[in-house]
């Protein structure tokens, strides 16, 4: 891939990141969660996301919805870097674009190359 193309892609990703940062600031969970665990609903209402998470490194190691997205009162759609820093301090330290959220590039719930089929 040509360098100019890479630059275009990076600019695009960062722009998306900046937009998503603005969009997610002050996010609120759309439903009253009651006493339910996140997975109780999300396994049904967002099955693709749930499956992606389940087959990711986070799914394997028990990093469940609440760890990144908080509880009802501190809910965020997109986790802040301070949350990712809990386990990925080195990556935060090495991050060359700290103003962008980790989630801007590590899109949705895949996170890494881990996949369940790799264990079978």
């Amino acid at each position: 891939m040509k360098t100019s193309k890479k630059i275009f892609i990076m600019v695009f990703i960062l722009a998306i990141g900046a937009i998503s940062f603005a969009a997610f600031a002050g996010s609120k969970h759309p439903e009253d969660m009651g006493s339910k665990d996140c997975a109780e609903c999300h396994a049904d209402v967002t099955p693709d996301v749930f499956k992606q998470w389940e087959e990711s490194a986070h799914g394997f190691t028990g990093v469940k919805c609440q760890v990144c997205h908080g509880d009802e009162v501190n809910f965020v759609k997109s986790p802040e870097n301070a949350t990712c820093e809990g386990c990925h301090a080195k990556q935060i330290d090495n991050n060359q674009v700290p103003q962008a959220r980790c989630a801007s590039c590590h899109i949705t719930h895949n996170f890494t190359v881990h996949k369940v089929h790799q264990y079978k």
Binding site: T3, K6, I7, M10, V11, I13, L14, A15, A18, M33, S35, K36, D37, C38, A57, F60, T61, G62, V63, K64, Q66, V67, G70, D71, E72, V73, N74, N81, A82, E85, G86, C87, H88, A89, K90, I92, D93, N94, N95, Q96, V97, P98, Q99, A100, H114, V116, Q118, Y119
Partner: protein
């Protein structure tokens, strides 16, 4: 920073891209993380993994926790508990004042001076009326090492009483018994670092993914990078740990001794054993006499996989495959925890795991190790190593050993004969012996508990509540609990990050937590409380670290502890406070000098410094031949050999019957810690597991007309509990599972659990009870995140 060409291009592109959207890049990206005034180095508060953390402090409060990437245990990763631990520190229920129970049953706030005077006057009175053993200490594998050491010294050296126990008796005593009876010395031979060298990992009696999630992460990564590494899981439940397994060995609870023997038989039948290693490094014994290999094979002859399948429900083919992989992989590591330890045959189960390693030579080399994962963060360092149990002294040496007793008396500047040679009572006997002054059959009249919640965590609770209620009970804790509901005096404790100190994790690694912030309210560090009790009882010379500078107090206690134990096989003489402050990842003992890097593997010449430790050899009369690459130098027979034990098969104390047709087993879930007193106060965690529940196989559920959510009463001969049903194929039919964290009285499962103990380790059989079930009603919403908030609430 070294940077490859490829990475350089990436960074260059990122820089250009960032500039194009108006972002300037700082050299350090910490600004993108939590906004804190400082990060303070410490250890995680929860399990025995020993994750190293940084605690983020802002304006005198802890506001964040992150993993330490330089740590040798967790490489920077944390589970949800460690990551969110700080959230419980400022919960409104934190105990902030000293309190004495009044005649009307309510607590009254009093000053520290009044509380300490009240406690010590009562202790003096009980000692005077009923003797030195009338007051007991019950501590914790979650207290700091300095705290356990201080209480141990106060009781054994000050009160001359060995009525000293701790909750590690309930979780790790069988592992201790296993290590000592096989190798002559407690704690693992190898380290977590063996995980990345192993070719086969045998996980048995451990739901590693939930109970040691950061260890599981290492195993998962190792498997991912090396798909040919075999993962075997041996468990009654197909837990989330089995997600990465190549082979599951399902077994009925308490029957796995037969599986281990059968694996040994298959190994011998196929000549997969390492006879040379066995001859040089081990003896085959039943404890009375030694045997040759032919006798061992004869002993194993009935443990054919087919016969064992009938006994255990473990498929014969799986036993054969597990034996093959274990013996022929080149480097096999086994890891286990409460599934083997909390058993009436816990020591034997540990011995038989060690047997498999000894007969195949899977020990004393990289990637090959029998490793007991500790449950609590400081059960190893704080309780096992400081000897804060009824039969031990610092250095994990028996109180009955006259030479070691004399050594400790000299170090503690006590008159010869001060320390009682007779062990005190083990935990279950201690609580069985606890009662009021009017109870002539209860010799222990008072108890002080520290960092533990026995009124919820003991098995067969119905038997022990009255003793706690009737006796003079002093509770040191940070929240109201079931135990404070029975207390006469409540002393508010500082949280780990409000006091600092050392934790020693599963892999012999000691890590220092610096004090980060001031304690809330009038809470005080537990070591300060112990030192003040000593002072009020006129024993300040024995416990001189009683100033208001807690890190100074900690350092004094630690310096004395490492001096007292400097010539033991557990030596930490080189792990001074100054050094622990500097070391990014703590130090593994043996660490005999300040220039020693710590020990990855014991008993191996060139790796273990005890081979050259003159003080140790002189003190314990050890001589080591120069031609042995490995040498088990704590062997009681002085031959440097480990014991391969011929242990007969024995099942659990209580097997299912016509009246009680199910096995019940209990355990933890990833979010909740023990009795939930801390974790249930963290909102994100409480939501994930707001209540206990009963896992039941669909076949059993159908038979009893139970559907998901139905309320089910589970009853043993000891007690009952009522829980909502979760119908799942995770367990075998006939086996029920309940997590143990719920504080709500009807859902406290320990009323049902068995308190029968292992005759060697005295550890109770939490893991196995025979029970019956009954559907009580349809679904009821019990997701109430129940906690005890009112200090004046009754049990």
């Amino acid at each position: 920073m070294s940077i490859s060409r490829r990475n350089f291009l990436k960074v260059s592109v990122a820089t250009a891209a960032a500039a194009s959207v108006g972002i300037s890049l700082p050299k350090k990206a910490e600004a993108a993380g939590a906004d804190v005034d400082k990060w303070v180095k410490g250890a995680c508060r929860f399990c025995g993994t020993g994750c190293c953390v940084y605690i983020g402090v802002k304006e005198g409060k802890v506001i964040a926790i992150k993993g330490n990437p330089e740590a040798k245990t967790n490489f920077g990763f944390l589970c949800v508990k460690g990551f969110l631990a700080y959230k419980c520190m400022y919960h409104p229920d934190r105990l902030k004042d000293t309190m004495i129970r009044q005649k009307d049953g309510t607590f009254q706030k009093v000053s520290w001076d009044k509380a300490l005077k009240h406690v010590t006057d009562k202790f003096k009175s009980l000692h005077s009326k009923y003797g030195k053993d009338a007051v007991a200490y019950y501590g914790s594998g979650q207290a700091m090492t300095e705290e356990s050491y201080t209480f141990n010294k106060l009781f054994k050296g000050g009160f001359r009483s060995n009525m000293v126990e701790g909750n590690p008796r309930l979780c790790m005593a069988s592992a201790v018994g296993g290590y000592i009876s096989t190798f002559g010395s407690d704690e693992p031979v190898g380290s977590y670092a063996d995980i990345e060298y192993s070719k086969c990992i045998f996980l048995v009696g451990s739901n590693t993914s939930e109970c040691h999630p950061i260890i599981f992460r290492r195993i998962m990564r190792h498997k991912l990078k090396n798909p040919d590494v075999k993962i075997i899981v041996c468990e009654p439940r197909k837990t989330s740990t089995a997600k990465i397994a190549d082979l599951w060995l399902p077994v009925d609870p308490g029957t796995d001794l037969a599986v281990f023997h059968s694996m040994a038989k298959v190994i011998f039948d196929n000549n997969w054993h390492d006879e040379k290693f066995m001859n040089e490094n081990a003896r085959i014994t039943n404890g009375k006499e030694t045997f040759d290999l032919a006798a061992y094979k004869e002993f194993l002859k009935d443990f054919t996989p087919e016969k064992v399948e009938k006994l255990t429900r473990c498929p014969a083919e799986n036993i054969r495959k597990a034996a093959e992989w274990f013996a022929t992989s080149g480097a096999s590591m086994s890891l286990w925890t409460m599934g083997l330890n909390q058993r009436t045959k816990g020591v034997w189960a540990n011995n038989l795991m060690h047997n498999l390693h000894l007969i195949t030579g899977n020990i004393c080399k990289p990637g090959a190790d029998p490793f007991s994962l500790t449950g609590q963060p400081n059960a190893c360092g704080g309780v096992r190593e400081t000897g804060t149990l009824c039969h031990l002294l610092p250095g994990t040496k028996p109180v009955a050993n006259s030479k070691w007793r004399a050594h400790i008396e000299k170090e503690w500047e006590l008159a010869s004969g001060t320390i009682d040679p007779k062990p005190g009572f083990h935990t279950m006997k201690m609580f069985d012996s606890l009662g009021g002054e009017e109870s002539a059959d209860k010799p222990i009249k008072g108890m002080i508990t520290c960092t533990t919640n026995p009124a919820q965590s003991l098995p067969n609770l119905n038997k022990y509540i009255k003793g706690m209620q009737d006796s003079f009970l002093v509770v040191i804790d940070i929240f109201p609990t079931r135990t404070t509901q029975l207390a006469d005096v409540v002393l508010p404790a500082a949280f780990i990050y409000e006091k600092g100190g050392v934790y020693g994790c599963s892999e012999r690694r000691s890590q220092l937590t610096e004090k980060c912030v001031e304690p809330v309210g009038n809470a005080k560090p537990d070591a300060w409380i112990a030192a003040q009790i000593a002072k009020y009882m006129g024993l300040e010379k024995l416990i001189p670290w009683n100033s208001d500078d807690q890190m100074k107090n900690n350092e004094m206690a630690w310096a004395e502890y490492i001096r007292v134990t400097k010539d033991t096989d557990h030596t930490l003489e080189g792990a001074t406070y100054d050094r622990l402050k500097r070391e990014p990842a703590g130090l593994q003992w043996p660490c005999p000098s300040t220039d020693h890097p710590g020990t990855y593997k014991r008993y191996v010449r060139g790796m273990d410094p005890m081979f050259e430790h003159a003080g140790f050899k002189a003190k314990f009369g050890v001589t080591m031949p120069t031609d042995r690459a490995s040498y088990f130098y704590m062997d009681k027979k002085g031959e440097g050999k480990a014991n391969i034990w011929l242990r007969p098969y024995a099942g659990p104390a209580e097997a299912p019957s016509a009246e009680y047709p199910f096995y019940l087993t209990t355990g933890r879930v990833i979010e909740q810690w023990h009795t939930g007193t801390m974790t249930m106060r963290i909102p994100e965690i409480a939501r994930a597991h707001p209540n206990g529940y009963l896992e039941i196989h669909p076949d059993d559920a159908k038979k009893y007309g139970i559907v998901a959510g139905d309320m089910v009463e589970v009853t043993s001969i000891r007690g009952k509990s009522v829980l909502p049903a979760v119908v799942t194929k995770a367990s075998l039919p006939g086996i029920l599972f309940v997590p143990m964290h719920d504080q709500q009285m009807d859902r406290m499962i320990n009323f049902v659990c068995n308190d029968a103990v292992d005759p060697g380790s005295k550890e109770p059989e939490f893991k196995i009870a025979a029970v019956q079930i009954k559907k009580i009603s349809g679904p009821v919403n019990v997701a109430d995140k129940y906690i005890i908030s009112d200090i004046n609430s009754s049990f």
